[in-house]
């Protein structure tokens, strides 16, 4: 009984990590319908950035992330403004192919720069710290991860629904041309959205790198989990993305509890199951 609750909680907390992977993707997908196949690799890039700041400057991992965040914003902004904005249009092929190429470039660039060795972001005592929650011991890092995911989701929702910039995001995603009649510059809006998504990626990278070993090639797997979470949740819903992440996390954790080799498989099965029942996800936006 305790073991069941323990597995469930661990799954939920893992879902927080996946929600962090997915939140940036959800933002970009929602604002400009762009499928960024390099998203996972960009998170890995951020992880290496944080790692470099920690080892080169001797900084605390959290402080390093604070510094990495604006750097990632700039990278995201430039990437969207200079490369990805050129791919937007009615054809879904160019964004897919360009971001696919980007994924390969980032992975191999990181391989050249850092080799294929596994790395870890050091968070000191936090790594093994745990809090008792009733009869169960819950790791502090997973709790922090979930709390951060919650904070990011709430923050993004506030941004989207309570600010002028958020209105601009939604308007541009509805109707690019009319949005420009409002004085909105779609190109800059898209670049800002990607910049913000990269800040979220930096946060995700911190928890990714602190939780387990990472190397330049793990991006695509993270991408799949992120996409599954976004698609399960439904286009345009941040809370849906969180729900999607939790579903994947719980499915994977239960899978692992039955048989370690089944962890990832069960996550995929859950994804397929949800989509068979609700092809547009759990909480899709009314207009699509």
């Amino acid at each position: 009984m305790v073991s069941l609750a323990d597995t469930l909680i661990q799954g939920v907390l893992l879902g927080g990590l996946y929600a962090l992977f997915a939140a940036g993707l959800s933002l970009i997908f929602g604002v400009m319908r762009l499928v960024n196949l390099a998203h996972g690799d960009l998170i890995v890039l951020a992880a290496f950035l944080i790692l470099t700041l920690v080892t080169a400057l001797g900084l605390n991992a959290f402080v390093a992330t604070l510094i990495a965040a604006p750097i990632m914003f700039a990278i995201g902004y430039a990437l969207q403004a200079q490369v990805l904005n050129r791919t937007l249009g009615p054809d879904i092929l160019p964004p897919l192919l360009v971001t696919f190429g980007l994924s390969i470039v980032i992975q191999n660039g990181l391989l050249e720069a850092f080799s294929a060795d596994s790395r870890r972001i050091n968070v000191g005592w936090l790594e093994t710290a745990s809090l008792p929650l009733g009869p169960i011991n819950v790791g502090v890092m997973p709790l922090l991860t979930f709390a951060s995911a919650l904070a990011v989701i709430v923050g993004l929702n506030q941004l989207f629904y309570r600010t002028a910039l958020g209105r601009a995001f939604r308007a541009t995603s509805d109707d690019k041309v009319t949005a420009s009649l409002m004085g909105i510059r779609p190109d800059r809006i898209f670049a800002t959205a990607t910049g913000i998504a990269m800040v979220v990626a930096a946060i995700a990278a911190l928890y990714l790198g602190a939780r387990a070993n990472f190397d330049p090639t793990i991006g695509p797997a993270r991408l799949i989990y992120a996409f599954e979470a976004v698609i399960i949740g439904g286009l345009g819903s941040m809370w849906g993305t969180l729900a999607g992440g939790v579903i994947i996390g719980v499915a994977q954790t239960f899978g692992a509890a039955i048989n370690p080799e089944w962890q990832i498989l069960l996550g995929h099965v859950a994804f397929i199951a949800v989509l068979l029942i609700k092809p547009r996800g759990l909480f899709p936006r009314a207009t699509d």
Partner: protein, 234 residues
């Protein structure tokens, strides 16, 4: 000096030429109407002024500044706001959010604010939190006009605001024009409903097949002249 001077404006869609050397002026505080049949080039003219279409820079001069080649966002920030054909409210935004987004590109003070626009169109205040798509056609048109007004534009462009609306609703909408005139607004309206256009305009331009075929004050123009300019000589 005229607020807006259009000189020899040409526009094309790919191989297809839609405007052949249009001349037009707008003085401060004036309301001018552009009438003509479908395909005459009226909307093309509006979209050229608004910056949705790009033209040669000096073909459109706004308060001395050549804006012909500027983008829509730039033109809007200078103070030209458009009520686009078909209303085009944002489905993801509520009524109030649709109004507010109208001043994203330009926050200028003046006669219009959320409160005064609600004063002009009380029904919008009642339904301020509803999704924009829940409004009727006439209400959506009011919201679209409010959205353009909230930035206190120096020139207001109205593209076919009577389209698809019942006559009584059209009357209600056009009833705001005296109020616009009081605030000193400069307005360009494009209309297929000639009756309404002649009632509110200081001057009228008639277009056919991409050219201006007739211009003058409503009082000066005879029915026959308008008919000929609109449809072509019988």
């Amino acid at each position: 000096m005229a607020l807006l001077e259009i000189t020899d404006l040409t526009a094309r869609y790919g191989d297809f030429q839609a405007l052949f050397g249009v001349d037009m002026t707008l003085d401060p505080g004036e309301t001018i109407a552009v009438v003509g049949a479908n395909g005459a080039g009226k909307s093309t003219l509006m979209r050229s002024i608004a910056g949705v279409l790009n033209n040669a820079a000096d073909q459109i001069v706004f308060d001395g500044l050549p804006i012909g080649a500027m983008s829509a966002a730039e033109v809007m920030s200078l103070g030209i706001a458009m009520v686009p054909e078909g209303r085009r409210l944002f489905p993801s935004l509520s009524v109030e959010e649709n109004l507010l987004i109208g001043k994203y590109g330009r926050a200028a003070s003046g006669a219009w604010s959320l409160e005064t626009i609600y004063g002009l169109f009380p029904i919008l205040k009642e339904r301020r939190d509803a999704p924009a798509t829940a409004l009727s056609g006439g209400q959506q048109q009011m919201a679209a006009i409010g959205r353009a007004l909230i930035s206190n534009p120096r020139i207001l462009l109205c593209d076919e605001i009577s389209l698809g609306l019942a006559p009584v609703v059209i009357r209600d909408i056009y009833a705001i024009f005296p109020r616009l005139r009081e605030t000193g607004a400069s307005v360009v309206i494009v209309e297929q409903d000639i009756g309404q256009a002649l009632k509110v305009a200081d001057r009228v331009y008639c277009m056919m097949e991409g050219r201006v075929t007739l211009t003058g004050a409503p009082a000066e123009l005879t029915r026959e002249a308008i008919h000929a300019a609109y449809f072509g000589a019988p």
